[in-house]
């Protein structure tokens, strides 16, 4: 039927009224080429759904046996001893470290990233915009392992005095209580993660701010708004869904970041006392899994790590779903 020229037999067969009954909407009916190509496209799309479902199923199936054998409470225990006769493991420490470090990263990177994006689109002199934007885009592409190395070797010595200063002055506050750990604290990891996701937030926000309709901006200025008021009333509302999705993408990166965190964390000794301090050590989900990749020989142990990975998956799933809902809502308003 279909030939190399892209003309199929159906094309040459005239319709009942002597013309080829082709309409754009119905252009895909019947022909072998159409069925094959449309089919392939559909199969690919469905394959993606299957893939994500499989990820969830496989992780659950392999986590469940280990969870059944677990003698400790999975969510509230801080013990991690998945091997042996009486496996006991809980994720409290990883959950705390992961969420806290990511929160610090977001608190630092989103305001600064949005400000830099606004600077690049609204304030920077025009000769500066393109080169600076390109630089930020390229930095967003720099692999995280490089940020990890830099944090480990160049940034850690600089951060140390800052940390002891805060511990000195604000140590009475539980979040800043000294713990005796100087390198690889939760706070330090949060700062490095912030620097890592900053170019991502900036690059994506810059793109949406750039698309603000000129009419909106000129309208605001014509009504007498100052530049900042123009930004607040036209650029920021227009860009909000984009900023939210950029932040969520960045949050996803921060939550799941593996290698940079693995380079930086200081693992806690067994049986250490619980501390609310941001200057405590502690592993994240990703670093715990990555640091113990060599232990995967034992299926029971693997199950425990897969269970931890499953929690991380659920965490990012929830974050992405929220972002999606928020963006859809905003869309409904603006369109």
């Amino acid at each position: 039927m279909s030939t190399l020229t892209g003309v199929s037999a159906a094309d040459q067969t005239p319709g009942p009224d002597g013309r080829t009954p082709l309409q754009a909407d119905r252009a895909s009916t019947g022909r072998v080429g159409d069925r094959l190509f449309g089919g392939a496209a559909t199969v690919s799309g469905v394959f993606v759904i299957v893939l994500v479902t499989l990820i969830a199923i496989f992780l659950i199936v392999q986590a469940v046996p280990a969870l059944m054998d677990n003698s400790a409470s999975f969510f509230t225990s801080r013990v991690w001893a998945p091997g042996g006769e009486q496996p006991a493991f809980g994720i409290l420490e990883f959950l705390w470290t992961t969420v806290t470090a990511s929160t610090i990263a977001m608190l630092l990177s989103v305001p600064v990233g949005v400000a830099v994006a606004l600077f690049l689109t609204q304030y920077a002199p025009s000769w500066m915009r393109q080169p600076a934007a390109t630089l930020v885009d390229l930095l967003a592409a720099v692999p995280s392992i490089v940020y990890g190395l830099w944090g480990l070797i160049a940034f850690a010595p600089v951060f140390k005095p800052v940390q002891s200063f805060i511990e000195d002055k604000l140590g009475w506050f539980p979040l800043f209580a000294p713990t005796g750990i100087s390198g690889g604290t939760i706070c330090f990891i949060g700062v490095v993660l912030a620097i890592m996701v900053l170019p991502i937030v900036t690059a994506l926000s810059r793109e949406v701010f750039d698309q603000t309709p000129t009419a909106h901006k000129e309208g605001a200025l014509a009504l007498g708004a100052t530049q900042w008021e123009m930004i607040r009333t036209s650029v920021l509302p227009f860009g909000r869904p984009g900023v939210i999705s950029a932040s969520m993408l960045a949050l996803g990166r921060a939550l799941g970041e593996t290698i940079a965190v693995t380079f930086l964390v200081s693992a806690l000794a067994d049986g250490n006392p619980w501390s609310w301090s941001l200057f405590n050590g502690g592993e994240t989900f990703a670093s715990k899994i990555a640091n113990n990749a060599s232990e995967f020989s034992n299926p029971n142990k693997t199950g425990a790590y897969i269970a931890a990975g499953l929690v991380l998956f659920v965490l990012t799933f929830v974050v992405n779903s929220i972002a999606r809902v928020v963006i859809e809502r905003r869309k409904a308003f603006t369109e």
């Binding site: 559909t42 830099v116 304030y123 692999p143 991380l312």
Partner: protein
């Protein structure tokens, strides 16, 4: 600064809007200049904050690039770096090359692209050209979810399937599969954007000439968006090239040349960095680590630059 003050709301405007009966007197107008001054101050503060944020953000980012370049560049100058491998070179020995890791990384991401690109492009074609209703929305949603899956989770999933369930051993191929998971959403999203840019008139003109839909998509839509799609693919490759977590779990490092993706250990640049990081106290290992990091950055940037050049010259004309 002067523009900020000039843009203050002229007092007269406020007067015009007020009904004549309650027109404020002269004193009221002078009082109104207070909020105006507050607005002008806010404007200046905002401007200062933006400049400061930019300066603040640039410090660590430039610092990172400078660190890597300064510490890594002299090793890249030696020809052995580009031709040799690390065989029989202990951590404390200087020298050796990174060709094994460069080749390995390129081979692995090439293989990854071979699987991920067709799936990604076809999915995007479905979403833009075919998909309507629930299925399309479900696919779009799962692509979002997939783009949020952390690389370590993708690696665990492949481990659970490939090693635990099927009983195969770790290999470069297994790591490629994990990278496929990370690459698909990047390709889908960028291709989708590009397909949406193709003007509808082109599709309609093609249908009007009696060209079937599949041929319209292949020969008109995809061809028009071609350069944009290539750019997206290159950026996607650059994105997975530096991923280390899947390699850590699925593809153990070797210092030798190794071209077999399916058996045995596999050399890659991120794993070479990771390997030398373990002996970071040794000057030789540290030097190699920075050189490998610089090489990785250069590869990623090269792909980005090529992608941008293609995008620049092949953009869809409006």
């Amino acid at each position: 600064m002067s523009t900020a003050t000039e843009r203050r709301v002229p007092d007269d405007d406020a007067v015009v809007d007020t009904p004549p009966g309650n027109r404020p007197g002269r004193e009221a107008l002078t009082e109104m200049s207070n909020p105006h001054r507050a607005r002008a101050i806010k404007d200046v503060v905002a401007r200062v904050v933006m400049w400061a944020s930019f300066a603040l953000a640039m410090i660590p980012l430039v610092w990172i690039l400078a660190t890597v370049v300064l510490k890594g560049v002299h090793m890249l100058a030696s020809p052995t770096w580009w031709t040799g491998n690390q065989r029989n070179i202990n951590s404390e020995d200087f020298g050796g090359g990174a060709r094994h890791a460069i080749e390995g990384t390129l081979q692995m991401v090439g293989f990854t692209a071979l699987i991920a690109v067709p799936i990604g492009i076809l999915t995007a074609v479905y979403l833009v050209e075919y998909g309507r209703g629930h299925l399309a929305r479900a696919i779009s949603f799962t692509v979002d979810i997939l783009s949020g899956v952390p690389s370590i989770v993708a690696a665990l999933f492949i481990y659970a399937v490939w090693v635990t369930a099927f009983g195969f051993s770790r290999s470069g191929f297994a790591a490629s599969l994990a990278l496929v998971l990370l690459m698909i959403p990047v390709i889908v999203r960028s291709t989708e954007e590009m397909l949406k840019l193709v003007p509808n008139e082109l599709r309609e003109a093609s249908y009007a000439l009696g060209v079937p839909k599949w041929a319209t998509v292949v020969k008109i839509v995809l061809r028009t968006a071609f350069s944009g799609i290539v750019t997206g693919v290159l950026l996607g490759i650059a994105r997975v090239m530096g991923e280390t977590a899947p390699l850590l779990i699925l593809a153990p490092y070797t210092k030798n040349f190794q071209r077999d993706l399916f058996n045995g250990n596999f050399p890659t640049l991120p794993m070479m960095i990771n390997n030398d990081r373990l002996d970071i106290g040794l000057a030789a290992a540290a030097e190699r680590m920075w050189a490998a990091a610089l090489t990785l950055i250069l590869l990623v940037l090269l792909l980005n630059v090529i992608g941008r050049v293609i995008a620049h010259f092949g953009a869809v004309k409006k």
